[in-house]
Assembly symmetry: C2
């Protein structure tokens, strides 16, 4: 039995691979684990049947032989713990890779979510234009720190890990803002992630969902 | 050798245990692991010596026999993996407890950080008063979902776990806002966490740092 994940029936990102199912697809492709996808509509996500899997009514979820998980970071970690290829074997390096996973979804993603919230939910507010630069400067603070840490390395801590997978995807959410281009080593880091064959397969699969939904 | 963590030399929360070192102190107390604390000033946190441990110039960090970690979630998970008492032994239950850790620092904490940012960094802005209710409603969305999932259970998924430790501490950050009181089962959940002897010891220790700094 393959695990089953959930994804948007109609992704609001129009197939650009920004939704969080992309992180799980990418991880499953990296470790060579086939999987099934159950598509859910926005209405279905908020219904009790889906909330039994995801208390916050979001995607992705992950089901495998009786286990039901939510939170992309937890799902990717679960996959990484059960298959080789996403976490170092050495205990200390493994702990540091997990630290980067938490840094991605907490420290780095928080101001990025703030920007998305502003763009989608406060765009019509009188303060929108004046507040945007404040949000962007908070993102720049994080990007500057991350850029200095990465330096000219390929990945954040040795070989590619689940920490890089999570961080690269979080950073991709900045693609339309232009902010990432201010940090060439971070832009190259994300491009390095996107160039991985596993990423490409995952991207194609989520794009196919959007294309099919659009032509339906 | 005991592990060493870092904490604020002068905590901005004035000893109320809201800083993130409290999560690590609490976890170490739960598992009965003695530890040392190195206090860092705001200036020291931004210097290269500290950034070598924490790329984003924050606390807490964790050092133990050559391993240096950052991110409270990653540190608590590291402690929970090496000592009994914070994660279930059964594999699926363990994965679900970790999912709650990610939910705490990502899904639930994100809008709470937004509120803190508004209170500390946008308080003098002309939009502050009008924007506050929007932020609070986003927090209420999350609290309502969490409240429904918790129901009348003591903890989020069976016995107390690192997931509850992280979630209860994230929710404590709402204590001054009054929002938590709108969800009596969540307020009781946090109080249940605070009543644990390990929490009490951790709280007393961080308060002693503040008291000593204030009388110095």
């Amino acid at each position: 039995m393959s695990p089953t994940i959930t994804a948007f029936a109609q992704s609001p990102d129009r197939g650009r691979g920004l939704a969080r199912d992309m992180r799980v697809r990418w991880a499953l492709e990296e470790v060579g684990q086939p999987y099934d996808v159950r598509l859910v509509s926005f209405a279905e996500m908020k219904e009790p049947a889906h909330r039994a899997f995801h208390p916050f009514g979001q995607i992705p979820t992950y089901e495998d032989a009786g286990l039901a998980l939510f939170e992309s970071g937890a799902i990717v970690l679960h996959i990484a713990e059960r298959h080789a290829g996403l976490l170092p074997n050495e205990a200390d390096a493994r702990a540091r890779a997990i630290a980067w996973m938490f840094a991605a979804v907490g420290t780095v993603e928080a101001p990025i979510i703030d920007l998305q919230t502003a763009m989608f939910m406060e765009r019509d507010k009188p303060w929108h234009e004046e507040r945007l630069p404040l949000i962007k400067d908070r993102i720049r603070d994080r990007l500057g720190e991350l850029s200095r840490r990465l330096g000219d390395a390929d990945w954040l801590d040795g070989a590619f890990s689940a920490g890089d997978l999570m961080m690269a995807h979080v950073l991709r959410r900045l693609s339309v803002s232009g902010l990432l281009d201010e940090y060439p080593n971070l832009a190259a880091y994300v491009a390095r992630g996107e160039a991985r064959p596993a990423y490409q397969r995952a991207f194609a699969d989520q794009l196919a969902v959007f294309t099919a939904a659009s032509s339906g």
